[in-house]
């Protein structure tokens, strides 16, 4: 019996091609190891934004989780985050509900009781359904309509259907659609823009704000910066939406269809040359000229300064961070650092980076956080001088680490600058 974690070099991965990803890297073909990364997306109550926390992005909203007790257990962690106290309620299914769906008849009364219990009427009650209702085929739209009649407040469904994670519309896509579903048609304002994609705001120093303002935008909306329900409803006025996370594409499509708001997409990148190209294309598509040279120079200076101080160090990269592990690894290698190991799930879309990685660093090894063989990973080994990502820290607890998973989202040049500042701090 081989007691080693499965890994593959980027060269081999590239040679296999995106249509032939090895079975060991395909989640559906194996049991799933409970690694820190798996916990973060399998148990989203544990960290970051899962369906439960994301579903409460609408200001003044509360959530009724309709589920067996197990699905609400770790919600306690979310409830301990400031701003989430007193916003979760539970309608617990018993053993017979699981089979016959009797709990659904109780939902309208439960919503009414929750609304009556609260001192202040919620802006919306989000109903969070789980795997049981996925299998029962529950018509949540109908249940929510009945609950709305019973309670007198808007009620919307969000789907914590882990069973559909690899489906066409996985839970994190649908919850993004759900949180914008309350927006109604309004008169458009040519100087208002929405940023979609994240449940927390961009870093305050992100140049995208400056770029948009210089392009004449007066109002930049992000759902996480809406202080109240009224300002949330103001998102209906946007001239266009900027989608920063592909999981918000369905929401943007819905807003385009219902409210006539067009959208364009930008990607979070750490390669400064690619950031520049993306901004150039962005400026072209909205018909403005933009000057990003100052922002780019600052980011490249942060990289240069770090490299000058610490040399061409080796950096192991995980996936529990605000970056695509492969794009970030490619950026680091292009900046002159070594990336010996990457810990990440792989999708076909990652091949755009894997192809370049195979040219520049073919022997970089890729581990998947999902493989049962990761149980054998030797956490006492020192694979790198520095690790990036909370999961990478788990594999190398004695290494310097930058979790890079802050709530405020890095983007663009400010993301590069911020990352290298944190790396400098970690090695100080």
């Amino acid at each position: 019996m081989i007691r080693e974690p499965y890994s593959i070099s980027v060269r081999e991965l590239n040679e296999a091609g995106q249509g032939n990803i090895p079975e060991e890297l395909v989640p559906a073909s194996q049991l799933i190891y409970s690694s820190p990364a798996t916990l973060a997306f399998n148990s989203p109550g544990a960290t970051g934004f899962g369906v439960k926390r994301a579903g409460l992005a609408v200001p003044g909203s509360v959530m009724l989780l309709v589920a067996p007790g197990c699905c609400g257990r770790n919600t306690k962690l979310v409830s301990e985050i400031p701003g989430y106290e007193d916003r979760f309620f539970f309608l617990l299914m018993d053993e017979s509900d699981i089979v016959n769906g009797d709990h659904l008849a109780r939902v309208p009364d439960a919503v009414r009781e929750v609304v009556e219990y609260l001192d202040e009427k919620p802006s919306v009650v989000m109903i969070c359904g789980t795997c049981v209702d996925a299998l029962l085929g529950t018509d949540w739209d109908r249940v929510c309509r009945k609950a709305e009649e019973a309670s007198g407040v808007p009620v919307r469904p969000c789907y914590m259907y882990a069973l559909t994670r690899e489906g066409r519309k996985p839970p994190m896509v649908l919850v993004r659609k759900a949180i914008y579903s309350l927006l109604e048609p309004a008169k458009r304002d040519s100087r208002t823009v929405n940023i979609l994609g994240y449940f927390s705001p961009l870093r305050d120093d992100c140049e995208l704000y400056d770029i948009l303002r210089k392009a004449g935008v007066r109002q930049i909306n992000e759902i996480s910066r809406c202080e109240d329900y009224e300002s949330y409803l103001g998102m209906s006025k946007a001239n266009f939406n900027i989608v920063l996370n592909h999981e918000a594409r369905t929401a943007a499509d819905d807003l385009a269809a219902r409210l006539g708001i067009p959208y364009l997409e930008l990607t979070r990148l750490y390669q400064t040359d690619k950031i520049a190209s993306q901004y150039k294309a962005f400026a072209g598509s909205i018909g403005v000229k933009l000057d990003d040279t100052g922002f780019r120079a600052a980011a490249e200076e942060a990289v240069r300064s770090f490299r000058e101080k610490h040399g061409e160090i080796s950096i192991a990269v995980g996936e529990m961070l605000n970056a695509n592990a492969f794009e970030l690894s490619l950026a680091l290698i292009k900046y002159g650092f070594k990336v010996p190991e990457i810990y990440s799930n792989i999708s076909r879309e990652d091949y755009v980076y894997i192809r370049h990685l195979a040219e520049l660093s073919p022997e970089t090894r890729v581990y998947t956080n999902l493989s049962p063989t990761m149980l054998h990973y030797d956490c006492s080994s020192a694979a790198a001088d520095l690790t990036l990502g909370k999961d990478a820290e788990y594999y190398h607890p004695d290494c310097h680490n930058v979790p890079w998973n802050e709530e405020k989202q890095p983007f663009g040049y400010a993301g590069v600058t911020g990352l290298f500042e944190k790396m400098t701090e970690a090695l100080a």
Binding site: I32, R73, T164, G167
Partner: protein, 367 residues
């Protein structure tokens, strides 16, 4: 009248699949949570405090909608077989969740198919996520002893005791097993096995060799009765740590006398604490009226008249509102729900309730 199942303040407790996994965590088997991912995530990320310290082969079956709808058990068994080629495992445990409960998975058939295909002993636990942790512990103990305990393991070991109901979930400390071993050793026991806390697969196989069993939580009671029937092992229900728990309560003896007190915990601990407080009150020449209540298993043999099984949050409100309690001793999670309806509230940690131990730092990777 509140809607059945509605919780407005009290968060759900550790579910039965977490209880099942807590018994098996250290036994060297492959533990397969028959779920889409969230249940395994909840176990390792929240309910299993040993996850951060000790590696264990706890895996999610990674079920997807079509696996469940089409009942593709063979696909799951093939995944288990492939993993078993790469992981040393003494046995396979398949633990149920709401997904197999909804599609009425035939666990017996699943076990037979898996044993045939994989060639390792397989146990299944029909947990469903709608019951609390104690149910999962109880079922898993029973399943383990049925499958693994052997008449051929040897004779009775003099001075030995098996302890049932001692996984981290039942308790207020990650080191409860060690403390129980110390306490029983101090009483003269030479060999103490805490099933689910520092025990091995071989300990379960040799369960029939124990001179007696000690049940420290009601979750261990069914297994104790089974072992008595099968091996003749006598058992007693007691909490060896009750004295230590009492000492930690900020409550002087003179504050107990004449008071109306409610203790909420798992039944054995609540009873043991009640006994101590009563003795203290009697020693000071006054009685204390003490009621034990629990959200979990309540065995008639261990109950006094007036003891209370709480099933709904509304039951809890009623119990607190109508009891005229001078003192409530319970996990801090209930403090807010108790509001100002009692004279004094004293924390009595219960990991399965709050997910926190007494005075110990966080046990989670993500906090």
């Amino acid at each position: 009248m509140s809607v059945k199942g509605l919780h407005k303040i009290i968060y759900p407790f550790a579910p039965d699949q977490s209880g099942a996994a807590s018994v098996l965590y250290e036994l060297g088997g492959m533990i397969i949570i028959c779920d889409a991912g969230g249940c395994a995530g909840n176990i390792c990320g929240f309910d299993e405090p040993r996850w951060l310290q000790t590696k264990s082969a706890v895996f999610s079956a990674g079920l997807r909608d079509m696996d469940a709808i089409l009942g593709r058990d063979d696909l799951m068994i093939e995944k288990i077989r492939k993993a078993s080629d790469k992981i040393d495992a003494k046995f396979i445990a398949i633990i149920g969740t709401p997904v197999p409960a909804t599609i009425a998975t035939d666990y017996k058939a699943l076990r037979r198919m898996a044993e045939k295909r994989i060639g390792l002993p397989v146990i299944t636990v029909d947990s469903n996520g709608a019951l609390w942790y104690d149910s999962g512990i109880s079922k898993t103990y029973l399943e383990c002893f049925r499958r693994f305990a052997s008449e051929d393991a040897g004779g009775i070991i003099p001075g030995s005791a098996g302890v049932l109901g001692v996984t981290p979930l039942d308790s207020d400390s990650l080191t409860a097993g060690d403390k129980i071993r110390e306490a029983l050793s101090a009483e003269g026991m030479e060999k103490v096995i805490c099933y689910g806390a520092g025990s091995t697969f071989e300990d379960f196989a040799a369960a029939g060799r124990m001179e007696k069993n000690i049940v420290v939580a009601a979750s261990g009671l069914r297994a104790a009765r089974y072992l008595k029937d099968r091996f003749g092992t006598p058992y007693e229900c007691t909490d060896p740590l009750a004295g230590e728990v009492r000492s930690a309560l900020p409550l002087r003896t003179e504050e107990i006398a004449g008071k109306n007190i409610l203790i909420i915990h798992q039944q054995v601990r609540a009873n043991a604490l009640r006994d101590i407080l009563r003795r203290e009150a009697a020693g000071s020449g006054a009685e204390a009226r003490i009621t034990a209540a629990t959200w979990f298993m309540m065995d008639d043999e261990l109950s006094e008249e007036g003891d209370f099984r709480i099933r709904e949050e509304s039951d809890f409100f009623e119990l607190v509102r109508n009891g005229s309690w001078d003192i409530i001793i319970a996990d801090s999670s209930f403090r807010r729900a108790a509001g100002d309806l009692c004279g004094r509230y004293i924390d009595l940690p219960h990991f399965a309730v709050s997910g926190h131990f007494a005075g110990e730092e966080s046990v989670r990777f993500y906090t």
